[in-house]
Symmetry: D2
Subunit: 317 residues, 4 copies
């Protein structure tokens, strides 16, 4: 990892060269404290000692350091964007199929789904994201491409791709996601073929983007639903508030309560090592480092977010 | 119910005479849509067609309407203040005994407690609040009075009392709270006698305060832990953020996810019909109306809070 | 339905012409008290007002009445025979993959399987029977035919078949069984392809046999593991006792406790309307009538078994 | 422990001097394989290297060896007798308050009770036995004495007592039983004061009897409800079958499925180290040795019962 790379002049965001330098040191110091996700080869072959941070203000002010431009597997961070797309396509009726409740169970819990008779607790647990995929498959003839195009538009990068090898490895070993999808189908909460729905689900998880690209793509969530780069209204202002609420109560799965307590920002994590966080009306933040702790949380990422929240005073609470 | 009573000039809070008049009409229109809590006589004998609202800014700007000065049984709203007191007494070690997780189960779930081997999910479910009571009993020779004095100091009203009849009725019928306390005791998470701990618990629930008094007492949560009336630091700034996070993820029990989605404020409800909400750095809000919907949520109170959030733009998201 | 058809002279079994006549009346009187299983066309198109009974002593003494020779879909009764086959193929090591516990949950519960980390509670719940199918698939190049041949040998009827239409309808609508199989696969408790395993599972359920054929096929369970017709040892004497114990604690799913309390015989039911019961050291009994009560239990079948147990004094307790 | 003490001539029961000698060796060889129950002093102060066995035929034929006449704390074995008494007092209406289902959860599970809305799964789990105690308290002015008198009559020994120290120690530490009782009370399934109901419950558990006395007291269960010593009908023949069914599916708690699979007799265990088993129409068996395995099962007792079942061929299956 190299040190801080690109630093704009200190603006509203409040980050200084010193802060970024401190953050880079903090990150480097914690290398080795965790382990890589190892359920598929593509994730366990990543160089573990990498770290990237991008902070982008609603006015475009950008700070980044480390491997902020290195692309990584966004994994479950994709759930935030596919949900946004489903809301654009289906509107409020989407919520007939998924609840807005935190879940105490693991992200891939199947008991949770049975207890709730086929209605996932929220759109970020796997079962909920599979329903999101189904909603998109129903409304697109080329859904994988459709989601990719959405990510390209949001990030302003035309060359964003899903890694086919990662997607097929996940499909190969994703028995539990097949179990969730078939149980959803049994409850009538999947309209399309399980294989088609999961093809999109795995493709989305395998999208590769950098911290800078993800922070840029999520800026509409910090800006009342309007992408400040293009001025396009992605979702309504109300939907934006609702999405940020969901990220706060459920974005970190069964660790969401603890994350809100310690850090206090709407955020979505991915097993590839990324966390995307939103500071409403102010900025988006993406931090990435591949090592996870034994609970599957990001070691370096959480330290960096805690530092940022404390030093910039950006908790929503 | 009379119409708006006391209205200060429109200040930072942003409430106008027109808004308050609209809110009063909205409240009156929804009278009859719910039912009274009926498990103890004192709650079911309340006049159902009452409504009060108090909004107090950190600078003291106060708006209120309806029965804002009528005292009611604060019930579970007390859990917010007793937790504050436990944090003052015990500090961070308190969190060895209670988690910071939302619970999908009902507020009085006993399975939840068994699943977590005697560590309550959060301090707002009954099991968690019983541990809070135990922590206070361990540190006070006259715990009931100690809590009352805390409420008097926070609200600036020396004549706040707990209703003995309500407390003894709750004790008489509170078999499930005894079950929770004995299970906590079995897991070693209660140090004192069950009867002593629940005596404080029931006494706290039976405290009677008005909307104005509650909003005033909670102002420190909107002001980085400092009561703006006295300048006293009640809890630290960090603890204040943490408490507001907890209120957001767990303050409305298993309805917290939905409440965050729809309203977007840290808040605590009580079965007596009150909701106390916090707008960090800005104001506290207390709304009261005794009718509950079939899920135990406040019918009028939620309408009023939705109106306020939309019209004042005060969601934290 | 016709009345009693074939009655042998009263022997050790103790059934008389009068008893059989009473039973036929009892059955007819209760026609209409239930409803047909309706999740696949083949089951809901059966004539509901049918009833058959066959009782066969270990010495070959046979009593039957009604539609005792009409073939019906044996459904979950097949689980008893496929388990027997798996025990023959795998021996005691089979029990590393499945427990011997009653389950309080429904026969197709997926939470149960997740709670037990992929080890089914017993071999009669769907998850357990899917593991049984996997064990057979691993040891046979033509597993569907292999099971059919086993049924033909046990019943002495060379023309027993599985109904392809029923099997394919169940496969088409069997999303929950796919969910169970994929979850088992996720836990490493399925060695073969899910499609291959379920192909055998659905084929077994769709086998069609009559009361007389089923009672005859199960006779080894009443005779210390030896088929008295051929003198062949099907399973050991110890395995036979174990299997009868399993039938008693789990053969009627989460209704097993109640069934043992009321009737007191090792037994296995099927959604096609059949119940196969064993009286150790004495006889096997098969009763069939297609109507189920709202809990999925057989209305007529349970009445008839209660009558038999009371009149013949054949409870094991 | 001394060797075999009293041996009658070999009769219908089929036990020989050689068998009893083998059993005594088997028991001694396994001393030290387990540990004592240690939650109350009285249980952990017992000499662990003791073993007793009594086998009594319906005709009075008696075999015993080891410490068969040493009294021990019968603990949960008392649940069998208090249930018998409740059935005598209340009849079939008793079953409105308790189900007849095996439970997969531990004997003192409180989640189980909440899931079933206050109706215990069966009368042998603690919650069920507490309801049994309540039923007796409602129908007796001196319930503790009433149960003792019943035990004296059944065993023919006028000097059977409950150990007050054990009962008070259990009450002192029985927080979980208080939790269960208060939860039952909350659901309206306890009519009397919790303290009164548990006083009887703890008194029953603390009764002290020997293997010979317990086997003698249980003989009515092997004899269609009639105590063969006195000719008295204790419960009806149907109730006797039902009780033996319940013992088979639930008498060993969540180990009942496994116990039926391995041993195949209706039986009730106690944490004091005793197991009382019934061979319908033949005999009763009581084995005692204080050491438990890590699951709370009796190490020596289960070995001895397996030996007896295999050698005497007395499994009910």
């Amino acid at each position: 990892m190299s040190g801080p790379e690109k630093i704009s002049a200190t603006g509203k965001v409040g980050l200084t060269d010193t802060s970024l330098s401190d953050i880079a040191k903090l990150a480097t110091k914690n290398f080795g404290a965790g382990h890589l996700a190892d359920y598929i080869p593509a994730l366990r072959d990543v160089d573990p000692h990498q770290f990237g941070l991008a902070v982008i203000g609603c006015d475009g002010e950008t700070h980044s350091c480390g491997n902020a431009d290195t692309r990584f597997s966004i994994q479950s961070i994709s759930k935030l964007f596919s949900l946004t797309l489903a809301l654009r396509l289906v509107g409020v009726d989407f919520w007939k199929r998924v609840m807005r409740n935190p879940s105490m169970n693991r992200f891939n819990s199947i008991s949770d789904l049975e207890t709730n008779a086929g209605i996932p607790s929220n759109p970020f647990v796997n079962a909920g994201a599979i329903v999101v995929s189904d909603a998109i498959v129903s409304r697109s003839s080329a859904p994988n491409r459709f989601v990719l195009d959405f990510m390209r538009t949001l990030s302003g990068k035309g060359d964003i791709y899903s890694n086919d090898k990662v997607a097929s490895d996940e499909a190969e070993l994703g028995h539990r996601n097949f179990a969730l999808a078939y149980l959803l189908k049994d409850y009538g909460n999947i309209d399309n073929k399980v294989d088609d729905v999961l093809s999109l689900y795995f493709s989305n998880c395998a999208i590769e983007m950098s911290c800078t690209e993800l922070a840029s793509a999520a800026l509409f969530l910090a800006n009342d639903g309007v992408d400040p780069k293009s001025g396009t209204q992605i979702i309504t202002s109300d939907e934006t508030r609702e999405l940020n609420a969901l990220l706060t109560t459920s974005g970190m799965y069964n660790g969401s309560g603890e994350f809100a307590f310690r850090i206090g920002l709407p955020a979505k994590s991915g097993v590839g090592g990324g966390i995307l966080a939103v500071v409403p009306q102010q900025m988006s933040i993406c931090v990435w480092s591949p090592e996870l702790d034994i609970y599957g949380n990001l070691v370096v990422g959480q330290f960096v977010l805690e530092y940022l929240v404390q030093n910039l005073g950006i908790s929503i609470f």
